[in-house]
């Protein structure tokens, strides 16, 4: 059974909504800026892909920041899908998150440890990993399958794969899926600083994230959410919905190895399995949205994985990292990157890898450097590789804007 995408919503460092994201991608405009949502003065790293305040402030009060992002993105997606008309018990919500309610946890523990205060009653319900999914289910009365998926930076890619499978298996008529994360708290940023993988360039935020470039310095943390409405292709067509694209296949693999060092073999298997699930050959691929974190470890390993999986076709396949533009939104990144790819390809261009100024011999594919490129590509893969060696790859097809 084919699985259609009929709704897409995104709130990201580019701002709120599809148009803001598309404009930034088209103009290769970075969403990475100085952090303003928290007092970052005591941090070494004071830049991030932060969702601009005017994109979300004052909405969905009473929820954690990661839930508010999910609600805003889901609102846009559901509005685009229109009236689904399905039995609420046949509508599911499967969201991914890497870190859950960081804002609430950070504030709770600060109160308790630093200020001798008490944890408020909402500390647990607001911070739990499925809080965002629960809020989305409640808002749209989705009473079917509901759960949240956690696999570090691959969370939302896994979630979208599972949502596709739920539709294929006939477990749901529609699934609201995607991912959300809001990790920009002092504790989380300090934790990433300790891993020594952050690109700390506080003076030039937009140039900090340099995937596949020899002078790359690490990743830039980000936040946001992207949410999709998936339905069976036939039913979406029957109700006259506009079909934006389809989720054609997905795969999940584990490295079963090092907790932070990625393994090309595990990533390559995920790419091959996703192609096979979607019944695609390497030559069918028009684009790969890479995990592309801009860390020392990821970029050469991912390059090797793409070559392993695609063989000769790897050199002819454009690969880019939109993280260069929006940063690394942790568990939300898979969803945000599928959203960016879908928007760009529907509009007829490949999103670029910006800040790629110094070629690295270990990274020798076509990374669509610095400028968007016109394309007729319709079929793409999106790769997400999480700490713990957890890999998720999603295969998608795009329906061009008529």
């Amino acid at each position: 059974m084919r699985v259609a995408i009929t709704g897409l919503g995104i709130v990201s460092p580019f701002g709120r909504g599809k148009t803001a994201a598309l404009e930034s991608l088209r103009n290769a405009r970075s969403g990475v800026k100085n952090i303003t949502s928290i007092d970052a003065s005591s941090l070494n790293c004071r830049i991030a892909g932060e969702v601009p305040a005017d994109a979300h402030e004052g909405e969905h009060k009473g929820h954690d920041r990661f839930t508010r992002f999910a609600l805003i993105a889901a609102e846009e997606a559901m509005q685009q899908s229109g009236d689904l008309g399905y039995d609420p018990e046949r509508v599911g919500v499967i969201l991914g998150t890497g870190l859950g309610g960081c804002e609430t946890l950070d504030a709770s523990y600060r109160r308790m440890y630093a200020e001798g205060g008490r944890i408020p009653p909402m500390g647990i319900p607001l911070s739990m990993y499925n809080a965002a999914g629960a809020a989305v289910s409640a808002k749209w009365n989705a009473k079917g399958a509901g759960y949240s998926v956690v696999s570090a930076c691959a969370s939302s890619a896994h979630a979208i794969g599972l949502a596709m499978q739920a539709i294929r298996a006939g477990q749901a008529d529609a699934v609201i899926t995607g991912g959300t994360d809001a990790p920009l708290t002092p504790g989380v940023i300090r934790g990433w600083e300790a891993l020594r993988v952050l690109a700390i360039d506080n003076e030039h935020p937009g140039e900090a994230c340099r995937p596949f470039s020899a002078d790359r310095r690490g990743l830039v943390l980000a936040e946001g959410a992207a949410v999709f409405v998936l339905e069976s292709f036939e039913r979406a067509q029957a109700r006259g919905a506009e079909i934006l694209g389809e989720i054609a296949g997905s795969a999940a693999t584990s490295d079963a190895g090092h907790i932070t060092d990625p393994d090309a073999g595990g990533a390559a298997r995920a790419i091959r399995l996703a192609m096979s699930d979607a019944r695609l050959n390497a030559e069918d691929l028009g684009y790969i949205n890479a995990h592309g974190t801009a860390t020392r470890a990821n970029d050469p390993t991912e390059t090797a994985a793409i070559k392993q999986a695609l063989g000769e076709a790897a050199r002819a396949t454009p690969v880019s990292s939109t993280k260069s533009l929006h940063g690394h939104a942790m568990g939300a990144s898979g969803a945000i990157e599928i959203a960016c790819s879908l928007l760009a390809l529907r509009d007829g261009f490949l999103p670029p890898t910006i800040n790629l100024t110094k070629p690295d011999p270990a990274c020798d594919l076509d990374y669509v450097p610095n400028e968007p490129r016109q394309t007729a590509a319709r079929i793409f893969l999106s790769s997400s590789f999480g700490f713990g060696g957890m890999n998720a790859v999603v295969a998608c097809a795009v329906f061009r804007v008529p």
Binding site: K61, G62, E103, A107, S108, M122, L126
Partner: protein
């Protein structure tokens, strides 16, 4: 607002103007709102109370013997409930079950927390579970406040 009496008690307890948050019209219902309000409260208190520790300790003894009337408690509780949940004052009569006023079990936890924080009392679980009406809530707070 005749909140000076209770405010005196709370100031006596921790040297903070614990009701500063009641003046915040924009406080959100949930986490950030609660936390920000709580932080603001302490900061405000620290700034507004220029007295030294000894002076505050002396005030504490003066304050706890003040009489807090039931009417004053009720007024304060209405303000706290309305801070946490947008409910018309008409629904907050002593005989009204909280559930009928639209306050669910999770709401009551948040409200009890705010009451404990602001009155500087601790409401035991069994007393909290026995609360059905707004009047029950007033009773519990009245019992637990250091009265005359």
């Amino acid at each position: 607002m005749h909140d000076f009496v209770v405010a005196e008690i709370s100031r006596a307890r921790n040297g903070a103007g614990a009701f500063a948050r009641l003046d915040r019209q924009d406080a959100a219902l949930g986490a950030r709102g609660v936390f920000e309000a709580a932080e603001g409260e302490e900061e405000t208190g620290a700034e507004q109370d220029p007295r030294g520790i000894e002076e505050r300790e002396a005030a504490k003894h003066a304050a706890i013997i003040r009489i807090v009337t039931r009417g004053e408690i009720e007024e304060k509780l209405v303000a706290i409930v309305q801070q946490e949940k947008n409910i018309s004052q008409d629904l907050l009569r002593p005989e009204t079950p909280l559930a009928e006023a639209g306050i669910d079990s999770l709401d009551s936890l948040t409200i009890l927390f705010a009451i404990e924080e602001q009155f500087h009392i601790s409401i035991p679980d069994d007393r909290a579970r026995a609360i059905t009406t707004f009047g029950d809530l007033i009773d519990v707070v009245q019992d637990l406040l250091p009265a005359a």
